[in-house]
């Protein structure tokens, strides 16, 4: 009898352990994936700064970086090489990585928060708000900012304004995702209509500028713009990653999440505000690069399953890679012509996405 007890106890213990080992293995796999993606990102970055229309050797390109990191140890490279690498390639690459990371994280957060797999950073009309603001600046020369932030300031304010309207309205009436999405879609149509009306009064060049702005481009990625993007990303992204566990609960239903101790309405609003903030901050510099935010989280879920503690950060890495690879492709495929980055991300993202769907045969969740 006693022996039997001990035997069953031991069996239970080993069962326990085997499950824990399997669980850990599963998580280690995901951490490994993070490592692989991060390594891929670094390798790709090292590759990306070596290519471009200005002729230089690999050594030249790396010398610039080494010189910037260790100015006393490494000689300064030729000035035009330094300018090319340090003022053009590096900031553009960093912008791509940061924007891709941010939009993907925002998408990964918004999908569960709005309980809608089609949600993206732009679901709530953020992009149409930004587009409207940009059009206002371009066509009528009216902007909150000036100089090189002439369009940026307007785009930022209007996109944030859109999300604020939604949040205020839904706060009053209880923040259900359906309501947020519907208001978002309605506002987005309103802003699009506004932009169209403005184009009617615009000159050809201004219309063209608006279209170019909407298509999006990483060309505005300079150290100057990174100064704005980086702190916001640095504050918001870790916050979203920390909050990502709550997304699992919210994904199980509002009532379930509440019974698990989550103030669902507040969490939803806070997460939306933060995700909107990163979206606005990034797209006001780059124009609308929407697709990343929709597709990167899905690609990630297909690879890792739905645990948002992993989906959120891995989406970020996938988004960063996808956008920066697309940008390099966009700049080099038919150089000197730069293919619009939005087009390129679709070319890169959609085949990967479809391949994964077909291979996984599991649907999107």
């Amino acid at each position: 009898m006693i022996q039997e007890n001990i035997a069953s106890h031991l069996k239970q213990k080993s069962d326990h352990e085997s499950i824990l080992i399997e669980y850990r293995k599963n998580n280690v796999k995901k951490i490994l994936l993070i490592t692989v993606l991060a390594a891929a990102m670094i390798l790709f970055s090292l590759f990306a700064i070596t290519i471009g229309p200005v002729d230089m050797t690999l050594k030249d390109a790396y010398q610039v970086i080494a010189h910037k990191i260790l100015p006393h140890w490494v000689d300064a490279p030729e000035v035009h090489i330094e300018r090319t690498v340090w003022l053009v390639r590096v900031p553009r690459l960093l912008t791509g990585l940061l924007v891709g990371f941010s939009l993907a994280v925002a998408g990964a957060v918004m999908q569960p928060v709005l309980r809608n797999p089609m949600a993206s950073p732009f679901t709530l009309g953020i992009s149409s708000g930004a587009g409207f603001g940009a059009a206002l600046a371009i066509i009528f020369g009216k902007s909150i900012g000036n100089g090189s932030y002439y369009i940026v300031a307007n785009a930022f304010c209007f996109s944030l304004f859109t999300s604020l309207i939604i949040l205020l309205l839904s706060k009053k009436k209880g923040a259900t995702p359906q309501m947020m999405i519907l208001i978002g879609i309605a506002l987005s149509h309103l802003f699009t209509a506004g932009t169209t009306v403005m184009q009617y009064f615009a000159e050809s060049w201004a219309t063209a500028e608006v279209v170019f702005w909407m298509v999006g481009s990483l060309s505005k990625g300079t150290w100057g713009t990174l100064k704005y993007i980086f702190p916001v990303v640095l504050l918001c992204v870790p916050f979203l990653i920390i909050k990502s566990w709550d997304l699992n609960s919210i994904g199980a239903g509002d009532d379930a999440a509440k019974s698990l101790g989550i103030n669902v309405e507040r969490t939803r609003i806070v997460l939306m505000v933060v995700a909107s903030l990163i979206t606005s901050t990034t797209i006001c510099f780059t124009g609308t690069i929407g697709f990343i935010g929709l597709v990167a989280p899905h690609i990630t879920r297909l690879m890792t399953g739905g645990d948002n503690r992993f989906v959120v950060p891995i989406s970020g890495l996938v988004g960063a890679l996808l956008l920066s690879v697309s940008d390099i492709a966009a700049m080099n495929i038919i150089s000197p012509v730069v293919i619009p980055i939005g087009v390129m991300t679709s070319f890169m993202g959609v085949p990967l996405f479809i391949y994964l769907i077909v291979k996984m045969r599991r649907g999107l969740h």
């Binding site: 020369g141 090189s148 050809s204 060049w205 219309t207 279209v211 730069v338 087009v343």
Partner: protein, 373 residues
């Protein structure tokens, strides 16, 4: 022009797609074949459609943004225009930016400001057009796919007008034929050719290696990526080499490039769309380009060779482009064109086309163009 620029972009996107998907066949052109010869005036329009008019057009409706009307003004046939497009009407009716940009045509034919407004090529106001009983309707070449449709709806011949590049002599001849001003059309063509010869005779002597390389920065808006256009012929005629036409694939219109590309091209001159530099914030000026951190090392910036130009910003106007051939030539080769008086030539060309004295001088003053020194 709105449609055209939009179409540029559409073309660019589609072009990119085709390239990436590696290899589609050439687009097939389907020409309208009319085997039977009819009475009346037969013309081939700018997209190759053959159109027959019963008689010389007395009443013309123009759905293009401004190309149709401008050419008719230059032919001295503005009195035939009975309907004008939304955008066209605004050019004649608005003060401020739009008007300044189109200052020439609105000065030359101010009476057009009260014409009936008939929509545009994409969305024509068909009932209004029918009520005007036009003999011919002008439609933007970029909207050629709707030409037949409009023709059927209105039961009126439709002619497509406009294309890339200004020196589109056949367009002048075609419209001349339609309004019975063939002589005037031919006169303008010969005049322009002779004027251009004054420059090309000199630039012909410049070897391929000596030709000044220049970068044409279109729509230099602070918030957007640098863009360029390989099709503004004035640069080639003035003996320059537009770096935008050096690549393997040259899109037919405006395309985005990177700033690093400007560094790589290292042009000796930069020409910058600059129609109203004092009016619009966010628009880069020659001075702000000279201060751009990234392109500091380029020859153009080092030597301070950054100049404003009107270009095709307000549409492809043969008259202003011809004038700009002189302007560009003098900037690129001051020694060779030492004795050239750009202002005099410019005024003469614009007078020939628009019939007004001192337009070039006027334009410089009003929109601050060409006053770079």
């Amino acid at each position: 022009m709105k449609n055209r620029v939009k179409n540029d972009i559409a073309f660019l996107l589609i072009g990119a797609m085709i390239f990436v998907l590696a290899g589609c066949g050439e687009a097939h052109h389907t020409k309208e074949q009319s085997s039977e010869r009819k009475e009346g005036i037969q013309v081939t329009d700018c997209v190759g459609r053959e159109v027959t008019l019963e008689k010389e057009a007395e009443k013309i409706v123009d759905l293009t943004m401004i190309d149709g009307v401008r050419t008719l003004v230059q032919l001295g046939a503005q009195d035939r225009v009975v309907g004008i497009s939304n955008q066209g009407s605004r050019i004649f009716n608005t003060e401020g930016m739009v008007k300044k940009n189109y200052v020439i045509v609105s000065q030359a034919a101010p009476e057009l400001k009260d014409l009936a407004v008939v929509g545009d090529s994409k969305e024509p106001n068909v009932e209004m057009i029918i009520s005007l009983k036009p003999d011919v309707i002008l439609v933007d070449s970029m909207a050629k796919n709707v030409a037949e449709h409009i023709q059927k709806q209105t039961n009126t011949p439709v002619v497509c007008v406009g294309s890339f590049g200004s020196f589109h002599y056949d367009m002048f001849r075609m419209l001349g034929k339609i309004v019975g001003k063939e002589e005037r059309a031919e006169e303008l063509v010969t005049f322009t050719k002779n004027k251009m010869k004054l420059v090309t005779d000199i630039t012909a002597g410049i070897g391929a290696d000596e030709r000044k390389r220049l970068f044409y920065w279109t729509h230099p808006f602070a918030g957007n990526a640098p863009k360029t256009n390989g099709n503004y012929e004035a640069f080639q005629l003035a003996g320059g080499k537009n770096v935008a036409s050096e690549g393997e694939v040259i899109p037919e219109g405006v395309y985005e490039i990177t700033k690093e590309q400007i560094l790589a091209w290292d042009p000796a001159f930069i020409f910058l769309h600059s129609p109203f530099k004092e009016d619009l914030e966010g628009w880069l000026t020659a001075d702000s380009v000279k201060e751009d951190e990234v392109i500091q090392g380029t020859e153009a910036v080092v030597k301070g060779n950054v100049y404003p130009i009107k270009g095709e910003l307000s549409g492809w106007d043969m008259a202003t482009e011809a004038a700009e051939v002189f302007y560009v030539a003098k900037i690129l080769y001051p020694e060779r064109f030492q004795h050239l008086d750009v202002e005099k030539e410019g005024n003469e060309i614009l007078k020939k086309f628009y019939g007004i004295e001192g337009l070039y001088t006027d334009m410089s003053k009003q929109i601050k163009l060409y006053e770079w020194q």
